[in-house]
Symmetry: C2
Subunit: 420 residues, 2 copies
């Protein structure tokens, strides 16, 4: 089917999803999870995955190949992921506010599904089932456009999910996969006005950039994180070290990992040598990859390291690299962050309540931490139970997007003949 045909069918399924109650949606999720684990479906998914892996070998990195690879355990994990969504609260129909106006009419602001959510993603097959489950639970039709490396795997997964949907009496078009994996289909989704109610690009800078420039449908930018920590002069040095170490080294490839450490001049002489010891020397001794510190001129006077280029403070390294810069004041730290951050997550380490207040008020990012690692910006860690992505924009959703963020609202007004 062409992308246009898929979108037309997806839109025809909208009303059924909007009207489905919680029990019906949960039943569909159970059937979808079961379908993934049925021996014949599972075999077909693994076969497809094998074909994808063979075609991709040599064209993508080992890390990417591992992300692409499925086995029985991973498929069981995907099914369990769907089942976990069953337990989450249904956001649809929630009355967000209710007022009775002087003329007697009642106004209820009510959460409703967006309609059709399109997701452009890359080579992780599990995004297919995760995104489908979150969309269904929030009453949305889901149109998936995966990367070409994972297409056969995604196709087999979607076929299984669709069988589950049908068994539960829901339209199979509630979840569909775009067949074309070239840029053409991505552009079609970006400009499918009237057919796509929300587009979520999950991918690298290039994809996000393309959406900002070309999308005429509503779009939420996700996932780019140049996250900062600011070690204040009133920081507990041990706590600061622990938070910087955790932010940088616990999982450098994710968007909530630290990329830049700002240190107050008064704290620098004691803190920087300890930082170097923990992130570089200690890790080397333990046989772990040491962190490369990229130092501004002032920091370089205190410890040895790579001299930082200007671009290093505007780069999402996603690697064992940390920019380090000395600042003269809290204000300079805030200004640096608001100038260089992608609006994802920033932290201050300080025992000074006033500094903490000023930092959280003035830093313009989705998540602002006081004495906590930036690594907590995550739907699960925030208690949302799930996550469709982390929004770095200010419109509609900011930070981790759970089920509520996949909904919009409508006003339902009831009366007995009121006119104006």
């Amino acid at each position: 089917m062409t992308t246009q045909e898929i979108l037309i069918r997806a839109n025809e399924a909208k009303t059924a999803l909007t009207l489905a109650d919680t029990a019906r949606k949960n039943q569909a999720l159970h059937r979808m999870a079961d379908a993934l684990e049925k021996p014949d479906h599972r075999a077909r998914i693994l076969e497809a995955n094998q074909r994808d892996l063979e075609a991709a070998k040599g064209t993508i990195s080992e890390v990417m190949l591992d992300r692409l690879m499925l086995n029985e355990t991973r498929i069981a994990g995907m099914a369990d992921g769907i089942r976990e969504v069953v337990a989450l609260e249904d956001p649809v129909g929630k009355v967000l506010s209710e007022t009775v106006r002087p003329n007697g009419m009642t106004i209820r602001k009510t959460a409703v599904p967006m309609g059709v959510i399109a997701i452009i993603y890359e080579s992780r097959p599990n995004v297919t089932s995760d995104a489908a489950a979150l969309a269904i639970k929030s009453g949305n039709v889901c149109v998936l456009r995966g990367g070409k490396e994972a297409w056969q795997t995604c196709h087999a997964i979607v076929e299984a999910l669709q069988i589950g949907l049908e068994e539960a009496g829901m339209p199979r078009e509630a979840v569909s996969l775009i067949e074309d994996t070239t840029r053409v289909s991505a552009n079609e989704l970006m400009t499918a006005e009237g057919f796509v109610d929300l587009l979520i690009p999950r991918g690298g800078k290039g994809l996000i950039r393309s959406c900002v420039e070309h999308a005429t449908v509503p779009c939420i930018q996700t996932g780019t994180g140049i996250c900062h920590v600011y070690v204040d002069r009133a920081a507990d040095p041990a706590m600061a070290l622990q938070i910087v170490n955790n932010g940088k080294t616990s999982r450098p490839s994710v968007c909530n990992a630290l990329e830049v450490c700002l240190v107050h001049r008064e704290a620098a002489a004691a803190f920087l040598p300890a930082l170097k010891e923990t992130l570089c020397e200690k890790r080397q001794k333990e046989g772990k990859q040491p962190v490369e510190l990229r130092l501004d001129a002032e920091a370089a006077k205190i410890i040895p390291g790579t001299p930082a280029k200007e671009a290093d403070f505007d780069t999402e390294f996603l690697d064992y690299i940390l920019g380090v810069k000395i600042v003269d004041s809290l204000e300079e730290a805030i200004e640096h962050i608001n100038r260089h951050s992608t609006g994802h997550s920033e932290a201050i380490v300080t025992a000074d309540q006033d500094a903490a207040r000023q930092f959280t008020a003035a830093v313009d990012s989705a998540a602002v931490y006081v004495n906590v690692s930036t690594r907590f910006t995550d739907g699960g860690e925030f208690g949302l139970g799930c996550e469709m992505g982390i929004s770095t924009q200010k419109l509609h959703a900011r930070g981790p997007m759970g089920l509520a963020e996949l909904c919009t609202y409508k006003y339902v007004i009831c009366g007995d003949g009121q006119i104006r």
Copy 2:
């Protein structure tokens, strides 16, 4: 100043606005209102308005000239409009949700200003002061781009507002007016990434269309309304007549006015003659402009009128014209509305609770009414106390946008050294 220079200065004023507390913002609003009414400022505004009016004569309609015209009473009205905003609740700093996680960290989802809000509008000078007041109260910097017909008036108004801001110790750049009134500046605003946090186009279809196509900054579409009423077979005929009459004739030029009336076949034989009598003959007798009914083929079998063309069901007439169509079922009414509506406001008239439930659940518009006129879709009527426009999109804000909708949120997370 160039548009770029104005945007740079606006961004420099952001932090001061974000950090201003309610008392300071209210003081600024009082000074802004007072400044408008100071005799010398008022005289300068009226002089500027005179120059605008003379230049516009013959180039725009009488209605537009009247909208552009200011006098002492209208200026006093603008000042009072600003003072009314003082009384509204400050949305900034409101804790939208608060959780303590098992590891002891506290997560507060907190309402914060957007930052810089740009508004593109046309020839109504009062939008200048209204928009500025709403922006200031919600902690936002406001960049205004008015139409060329009203530019001198808007410029004099903004000068007065800026003096008020300075008197209150706020940066004058909190409110500014773009000097260029050509398309160039509109396009600059649409693509000013990093400088405009929210763009609100207030104007006709052409402007909205241009924003959808060209904007790379976050944007909220406002104001186009093809509003429908569906007269169900279980409708109270007198109530239906009253609601249709009010929706069409009380103020046809506004976006919440009715454009299309759908009538259930079983109700049509009795309802349509009454509709014609009230909207056409009775109005004619009273010396009022009669409504032109544009009838589909089935309606034309029952009453005389203009035959409807297909385009009549996709047109925002903003005039004494009403499309009339007979439908065979509630489902057909819902389907017609979801296909032809702009997502603004729709109403059902019915005594059947099930029909009402189905209609409100399935109609995909910002405001869905049961036995109430669509004319109530308005910030004031909804109890928001004000309105920056009526959003017809689903992302971020839907329906009337009050102060809360001019804010985003951030997560503020506090702990004592939590790492992941």
